[in-house]
């Protein structure tokens, strides 16, 4: 393993000086977090001023609650993961806070102007999102508390993997009335009020399993048999697992009618496979398989329709959304028009028009969910959206950083996979609403309204923080909370690459 940080900070180097303490950087995190909350409050204040015309005493309730929630999270990390990367929590808190503020902005926009001042701070989608944030953070803190060492997860890998597969399958086997929202069968719905997207949680569970499986099998999978065009290709019989996941993800595509989820699972697997084996050939095989499968689904959709029809239709819309601008292409067209209207600087917080003249109908459908990025785009412009993208990039790259620094292979795969998955999800949904790729029904992590997405992504962050904590913790300190390190058979003798 390469010592990536400065020699003193190198986790493997035992500290020579007695009494030297590895800096936890918790104070940096606190400063960054406070800064993030200033930005969120300023944004929410600008929204309030634009839509209500004044900033009332009531306004301060939501920003204050957000501040409390995130400060509590910060304090929790001081105990549960003291050495965790200090940039991750502030970046996530900033995104999450902006999401709450934007949903509040939609609440206000939906209300006719004279009644806006009376819209309570403890009502609407914005407040509901705030409550979900609180719940998601509590769950994440509990997860951090239970999982003192990420390697514990590998013990339950098969259980977790199986649970993951079941969660993925549930919406597919449920009747459409209980699982379909906007053409994608990704949900479990209990009436119209409560709905969860089990796939959001499945990605973490599946990744734990992938990581475990690949740590076990990486030597075999890394064996090359044939060299073609200067690239080593694996043996035919070793293709089994990747083909299995490929078929699984295609089944997702067909039965859950969602390219994004399918792309996510498959991308997640291929990338962890690549990280584990260091064989570029796996990436090539994966890409070929995925695009081949997608193309096949498109052709089949055009020829036979049936379960492939939805995907075919999405591709047609993607190719020319303006062809049926008031019909099938409506969502994507309105998304593009909203983004275009925002231009470089946007109309300003609260000064966009995501709704129609009669105010109760939004121009941009699903602006609180799939299209929240486009909704933001109208008001904060290219510059604002670039900043949002940078936040996601910071989280993903910090996650990869933790993966590089952590000592065990399972942790590397886990953190690397999680960080990449988050980045891939952002790519899929943002690429979808900006017409880079066909539109799919993914949520925008930390921004979209909805509890399951928020909770799943916070859990993902909790696991990243856990690995990050392990990667930066001096060997002598022991695991967070002082419990004994978990011994896992085989891990000690592992060859590091």
């Amino acid at each position: 393993m390469t010592a990536s940080a400065a020699p003193l900070a190198s986790p493997s180097a035992p500290s020579a000086t007695a009494g030297f303490r590895m800096p936890t950087r918790r104070n940096s995190e606190l400063v960054l977090l406070l800064l993030a909350m200033v930005v969120v409050t300023a944004y929410a204040g600008a929204v309030e001023y634009a839509l209500v015309g004044k900033v009332s005493a009531d306004f301060w309730i939501q920003p204050f609650l957000l501040l409390l929630v995130f400060l509590a999270t910060h304090v929790g990390l001081r105990f549960l993961a003291p050495y965790a990367d200090p940039a991750i929590l502030p970046a996530v808190a900033l995104l999450n806070g902006l999401g709450v503020a934007f949903l509040r902005r939609l609440d206000l926009g939906r209300t006719s102007a004279p009644q806006r001042a009376d819209l309570g701070a403890l009502s609407g989608d914005g407040f509901r999102q705030l409550i979900w944030t609180l719940a998601a953070i509590i769950v994440s803190m509990v997860a951090l508390w239970v999982v003192r060492d990420h390697r514990v997860l590998s013990r339950y890998a098969y259980t977790l993997g199986l649970t993951g597969i079941v969660l993925v399958m549930i919406p597919a086997v449920l009747p459409a009335s209980l699982s379909e929202v906007n053409g994608a069968k990704l949900w479990i719905r209990f009436g119209s009020f409560f709905q969860i997207q089990p796939g959001e949680f499945a990605k973490i569970l599946l990744l734990s399993f992938f990581a475990y499986y690949l740590v076990r099998k990486r030597e075999v999978l890394a064996l090359a048999s044939r060299r073609f065009l200067g690239i080593d290709f694996p043996r035919g019989r070793d293709l089994g697992p990747v083909l299995l996941v490929w078929v699984l993800s295609l089944l997702v595509l067909v039965f859950e009618k969602d390219l994004g989820t399918s792309l996510m699972y498959f991308g997640m697997f291929v990338v962890t496979l690549y990280i584990a084996t260091e064989r570029v050939s796996w990436l090539i095989i994966g890409l070929l398989l995925f695009f081949g499968g997608a193309f096949l689904a498109y052709v089949l959709g055009a020829a036979f329709g049936g379960p492939f029809a939805n995907f075919h239709e999405r591709v047609i819309i993607w190719l020319d959304p303006f062809k049926d601008a008031n019909g099938d292409g409506f969502q994507l067209v309105q998304s593009l028009l909203g983004l275009g209207t925002g231009g470089l600087f946007g109309s300003g917080p609260g000064r966009g028009i995501p709704y129609m003249a009669d105010i109760h109908r939004f121009i941009l459908p699903e602006v609180q969910n799939d299209f929240i990025f486009a909704g933001f785009g109208e008001e904060i412009g290219l510059f604002g959206l670039t900043a949002l993208l940078m936040l996601y990039l910071v989280i993903a790259e910090r996650g990869l950083r933790a993966a590089i620094a952590v000592r065990d292979s399972f942790g590397k795969l886990m953190a690397g996979g999680l960080a990449f998955t988050l980045a891939l999800q952002v790519f899929v949904i943002v690429g979808g609403v900006t017409k880079l790729i066909p539109l799919t029904g993914q949520t925008t992590p930390f921004l979209s309204a909805g509890g399951s997405s928020l909770m799943a992504n916070w859990l993902l962050i909790a696991m990243l923080l856990r690995v990050s904590d392990a990667s930066r913790r001096p060997a002598s300190v022991g695991t967070g909370g002082g419990s004994a390190p978990v011994k896992l058979a085989g891990l000690a003798t592992e060859v590091m690459r």
Binding site: L336, G340, L389, K412, F420, L436
Partner: protein, 506 residues
């Protein structure tokens, strides 16, 4: 495993780089196009903060608005209204709905009316400094209020009971459209109401109505022209065969293009050209089918088609207002197929086409263009609806310039055609269009359409004084039945008289 992890980091960077580049494309490069796209509801919303300009027609020495925006207390500050006889002008103004795409002039000059046009840039700039929200520009039409309303009312109250019809009146010397009426029509005010549910209900009702009130029959639909086609055949004979009005042509009570072919053309009445020959001028005056069918066959399909194209048939690009995809277009008229399976002229088809049957189809606008071209000495002027565009401060920003589109016949042939068409009105089928003290020429048409429905009635003609053309007109009455062309002729005379009065020539 660290090397691939670093590479994954690069992959993530690349993915985000793609997102960033694509966002630049959408939010920077395409931003203006998207911001002003007609599907963008925000455009409408912000437009309603400004007063939209008026669309006005000529009334005597003044202009009166047929579309204007009035202030309301709604979220949308201004409401679009069509104050003056809205149904009579709907085919011209179109409508500007709150949500949805405008039509006709409202669409063709949308940017100018809303104040977004480049020509009004300085006004917008001034607005930035003064803070006053200026209104949009005004569109002044060539349409004459009294002529238009006369045409529309005559169509509505026609004596043939035709439910569908169209009238086009042009100034032959400039191409300015003086009237363009179509029936049935609709009230655009019902579509521009701020109650968007009521508006879309009204639109859907119009759109689904089998009578198709939203369709402008003057420019958007083609019909068999019947005997008005004989003007084209005459023009071809005069030009290509060197005939003059006194040239004697074969006629007779019946004509069988292919002897023993089983298909025979007759005249509308046994009293029409029963003799074996007739002069060209008399053939047109009486509307002699057998004479023109034989003349057409003698000319051949190519010459007939060429002359028809000379008069504007098959023109895909004719517009009467606006540019690009927002322009008001005229659908092309067609001569249709005249060849048989072997690729040679089929005499039956050529004969039928020569009297305006078979697959010949024209718009009423094309009919008016034929008459106008003859009246204007052979020069066909581009038809246009917009006289000038006026900035909010009432200065003219653009004035339409008349333009010669094409010259299908020379002055001499045009003179012959005038003589022949005048004869039609003086002593032939078009006597109902006579106007004392003026020279009136024209041609009637009765087009068979189907076994069940009545024939279409047509009249195309012109009026001039002292050698100067005043007005050309086409009147079309769909399925008017017998007497349809006579009623069309009467309406044409009415419309031309109104133009004369409006010009102060009487």
């Amino acid at each position: 495993m660290n090397a691939p992890l670093r590479r994954v980091g690069v992959v993530v960077l690349v993915l985000f780089g793609l997102l960033f580049l694509n966002l630049n494309w959408v939010q920077a490069y395409k931003a203006d196009a998207y911001r002003t796209d007609e599907h963008n509801g925000r455009v409408q919303l912000s437009e309603y903060q400004h007063q939209r300009g008026v669309i006005a027609v000529v009334a005597g020495r003044d202009q009166v608005p047929i579309a204007k925006s009035i202030e309301t207390n709604d979220t949308l500050k201004y409401q679009r209204q069509y104050p003056l006889n809205p149904a009579a002008y709907a085919a011209i103004t179109g409508y500007k709905p709150v949500s949805g795409i405008p039509t006709n002039i409202e669409r063709a000059e949308d940017d100018f009316l809303s104040g977004n046009a480049a020509a009004l840039f300085s006004d917008r700039l001034r607005e930035v400094f003064t803070g006053n929200k200026s209104s949009g520009g005004n569109v002044l039409l060539t349409i004459n209020k009294n002529v238009q309303e006369k045409a529309y009312n005559d169509l509505i109250n026609n004596n043939s009971g035709a439910k569908n019809g169209a009238v086009v009146a042009l100034d032959p010397t400039t191409g300015a459209i003086l009237a363009m009426a179509t029936t049935p029509s609709y009230d655009p005010n019902l579509i521009t109401t701020h109650d968007t549910n009521a508006a879309s209900a009204a639109f859907n009702q119009f759109n689904k109505d089998p009578a198709k009130p939203l369709l402008n029959r003057a420019t958007q639909e083609t019909f068999p022209p019947g005997s008005t086609m004989k003007v084209i055949i005459s023009a071809a004979a005069l030009t290509d065969l060197g005939y003059n009005p006194q040239t004697v042509i074969p006629a007779g009570p019946s004509y069988t293009p292919i002897p023993g072919g089983g298909f025979t053309i007759h005249n509308a009445h046994p009293s029409i050209c029963p003799d074996a020959t007739i002069t060209l001028i008399l053939a047109l005056t009486q509307s002699c089918n057998t004479g023109f069918a034989q003349l057409g066959v003698k000319l051949g399909a190519d010459k007939v088609k060429a002359m028809a194209q000379g008069f504007g048939f098959e023109d895909n690009g004719l517009t009467i207002a606006g540019d690009g995809n927002k322009a008001m277009t005229v659908v092309p008229s067609h001569t249709g197929a005249m060849t048989g399976d072997n690729g040679q002229d089929d005499p039956n088809f050529v004969a039928q086409s020569s009297i305006g049957q078979k697959d010949v189809r024209i718009t009423p606008m094309q009919g008016a263009l034929i008459a106008a071209t003859v009246a204007n000495g052979g020069n066909q002027m581009r038809p246009y609806l917009i006289d000038k565009l006026q900035a909010p401060d009432l200065t003219t920003t653009s004035q339409s310039a008349p333009k010669v589109l094409r010259q299908p016949v020379n002055g001499q042939v045009a003179g012959y055609l005038q003589e022949m068409m005048e004869s039609v009105v003086q002593r032939g089928t078009g006597t109902k269009a006579k106007i004392d003290g003026f020279r009136v020429g024209g041609k009637t048409g009765t087009a068979q359409n189907s076994e069940d429905d009545g024939d279409h009635g047509w009249f195309i003609g012109w009026v001039m004084k002292d050698g100067r053309p005043i007005c050309a007109v086409a009147v079309f009455l769909q399925n008017a039945g017998s007497g349809g062309s006579a009623e069309a002729t009467r309406i044409a005379g009415d419309v031309m008289k109104t133009v004369i009065t409006e010009r102060g020539l009487k």
